[in-house]
């Protein structure tokens, strides 16, 4: 499989503290790459940097050969990179179905011009998106919750809404920040199954930050280990579990 996302010499500093200090790794197409490491290693910052939610001090992020550094969050999203958040980030006062509609790629239909001068086209567009959203909702078992406000759902259900929302855009790359955090085991199983099914198509790749090692070894073919802002090693989960440096890093914290 080819490399779809290439991160090179990434540096992010916040007021003199280098949260991420020269990180280099690659993600292969059609796979889930795991990003693990002790607390404070800089994993979420790497995710934020790729999504342009934080400013890079140095380095390059190439997505299918194109440079992402310097773009804004919404521009990165429009190139097909979607994300979920560590603390689930749903639109609490929008219904579950509306939450998914917000994941649909923006265009003329949802612009001000579309609202004023193209109401009919906007309705047609919306009807298509509603159909697509319902399909995704029934795939993840949330079909009967479509009219509920997303703020009324459980943590795990919110996570499913978030993942489904990111799929509305036909994203080809997903950044997942601890998708299993605060999710009960049954629902966690369901999310893992969902993710596996999604990458099996071959068109979607993911970078997943996760603390649950069982999930990582089950889903990720390649694992990047970070500690204190830099990459400790990269390899399969078996390699990682054998490595003494990794054990030390986790023990030191």
């Amino acid at each position: 499989m080819n490399d779809v996302l290439v991160v090179e010499d990434l540096v992010c500093s916040f007021g003199g503290v280098r949260a991420v200090d020269g990180v280099t790794f690659t993600c292969k197409g059609g796979q889930i790459t795991g990003l693990i490491g002790p607390n404070g290693a800089g994993k979420t910052t790497v995710l934020n940097a790729i999504a342009a939610a934080v400013h890079l001090s140095r380095g390059s992020i190439k997505w299918e050969g194109q440079e992402l550094a310097g773009l804004s969050t919404y521009q990165v999203a429009r190139r097909g990179i979607a994300r979920t958040f560590q603390i689930s980030n749903v639109f609490e006062h929008l219904t579950v179905l509306e939450n998914l509609l917000q994941g649909a790629p923006p265009g003329r239909a949802d612009s001000l011009r579309g609202a004023l001068f193209g109401a009919r086209a906007a309705r047609r567009w919306e009807a298509q998106q509603v159909e697509k959203a319902r399909e995704l909702l029934s795939r993840c078992g949330l079909a009967e919750h479509e009219d509920q406000y997303a703020g009324e759902l459980s943590g795990g259900q919110k996570r499913l809404v978030e993942i489904s929302r990111s799929l509305m855009s036909d994203a080809r790359f997903l950044l997942l920040d601890e998708p299993m955090a605060g999710v009960n085991p049954t629902l966690g199983e369901q999310i893992a199954e969902y993710l596996r099914e999604l990458v099996s198509g071959g068109n979607l790749s993911m970078l997943m930050v996760e603390h649950e090692m069982a999930v990582v070894s089950e889903l990720c073919s390649n694992v990047v280990v970070m500690a204190q802002g830099s990459v400790l090693m990269e390899g399969t989960m078996e390699d990682v579990q054998r490595d003494q440096r990794v054990r030390d890093a986790y023990l030191v914290g």
Binding site: H93, L101, Q102, A122, R123, Y149, E162
Partner: protein, 353 residues
């Protein structure tokens, strides 16, 4: 009495336009525009100076910049344009990085500065005395008695209010309106979905500003005078209270809130026997308006008529494409049927973040 009723109704129309404009910014897009009245004032002053004629015309007793005799309805359009431009300029600075409380503080200070400048810079819009003798549009051409003119003007205001209602309903029900509510709920997630948060907030801010300008211009052509005392910052809070009491992001609710708070409440107090020193009741009104905001924010932050839950017809109903895509339960039954959890959820965001 007929004169009084028509006057109250005209002011109701003006306040409805303003409250809906503020609701688009505050209720839909989540912008805490504490300077809303400044944009109404900009519209009012603009409509005044382009209809008053040269400042030396009436013996030069008032001084202001510009001055022309534009025919109806150009002064109103000019007022809307200037208020919109002002909103674009203010928004370009205030909406870029500031959020929540800080955004509110900056806009509140802007409101205070604007009053200060208008009072101190006499040459701009005649300082603290303000502008007067602003002509009523078409008053000579129509040849009506002043009472008849009142009712005709009310018809014109009602027409504009209906237009604004239809315009806003179109916006809030569209996918664009949902983008605004998404930005209000969670900016990071909206941006992660490819939405340009700044552009969306700016669009809501400018549209709200234009509507503020419209309300100011229509009001000034009716009352024929405009001074800094007419647009002090508490006026913004009267409108904000109307939005909070009626129900944010619900056009019908905001209309009820407007009729209850700035109209009914402020008019009824006129008929109370005067107590204490002169002006006591006027001052107490503001105390009560502040209390109303607090009470609603604490016990019913979603307002009397909460935001409607958008439902989409199922595929089997065949409504897709028929224009009835957006169905929503009546706000009233929704408020009754809402589970206990939802009012709690509403409370958590209505509080300033």
């Amino acid at each position: 009495m007929s004169y009084y009723i028509s006057s109250v109704l005209i002011v109701t129309c003006v306040d409805l336009i303003a409250a809906w404009g503020l609701d688009l910014q505050f209720g839909s897009a989540g912008i805490n525009n504490f300077a809303f009245i400044v944009f109404a004032a900009a519209g009012a002053y603009t409509a005044s100076v382009v209809s008053l004629g040269s400042s030396s015309a009436l013996g030069g007793f008032q001084s202001y910049v510009g001055g022309s005799h534009w025919p109806f309805p150009l002064p109103i359009l000019a007022g809307m344009a200037v208020a919109g431009l002002l909103a674009a300029a203010v928004g370009a600075v205030a909406l870029r990085r500031l959020r929540g409380d800080y955004e509110a503080i900056v806009l509140l200070v802007l409101s205070l500065i604007a009053t200060g400048v208008a009072q101190a810079e006499i040459g701009l819009v005649n300082g603290p005395a303000g502008l007067s003798l602003i002509p009523k549009p078409l008053v000579t051409g129509l040849g009506l008695s002043s009472l008849q003119y009142q009712w005709v003007y009310l018809g014109w205001c009602a027409f504009l209010t209906a237009l604004v209602f239809l315009f806003l309903r179109r916006i809030v029900r569209s996918p664009f309106g949902r983008n605004l509510r998404a930005v209000r709920d969670n900016e990071a997630a909206a941006a992660a979905g490819g939405r340009n948060v700044f552009a969306l907030r700016m669009q809501a801010f400018v549209i709200g500003g234009v509507l503020a300008g419209l309300s100011g211009a229509v009001l000034v052509e009716f009352v024929n005078a405009w001074a800094p005392g007419s647009w002090l910052y508490p006026e913004t809070f009267a409108l904000l209270t109307a939005v909070i009491v009626g129900g944010r992001a619900n056009l019908g609710g905001v209309a009820i809130g407007t009729i209850l708070v700035p109209i009914l409440f402020l008019e009824v107090t006129r008929f109370l026997p005067s107590i204490g020193y002169p002006g006591l009741i006027d001052s107490l009104e503001w105390v009560v308006i502040g209390l109303l905001t607090l009470i609603f924010m604490y016990w019913r932050p979603q307002g009397i008529f909460p935001e409607r839950r958008r439902r989409f017809p199922s595929r089997s109903s065949g409504a897709i494409g028929s224009g009835a895509l957006l169905s929503s339960r009546s706000a009233f039954s929704a408020s009754l049927a809402a589970p206990a959890g939802s009012s709690h959820v509403a409370k958590s965001t209505a509080a300033p973040e």
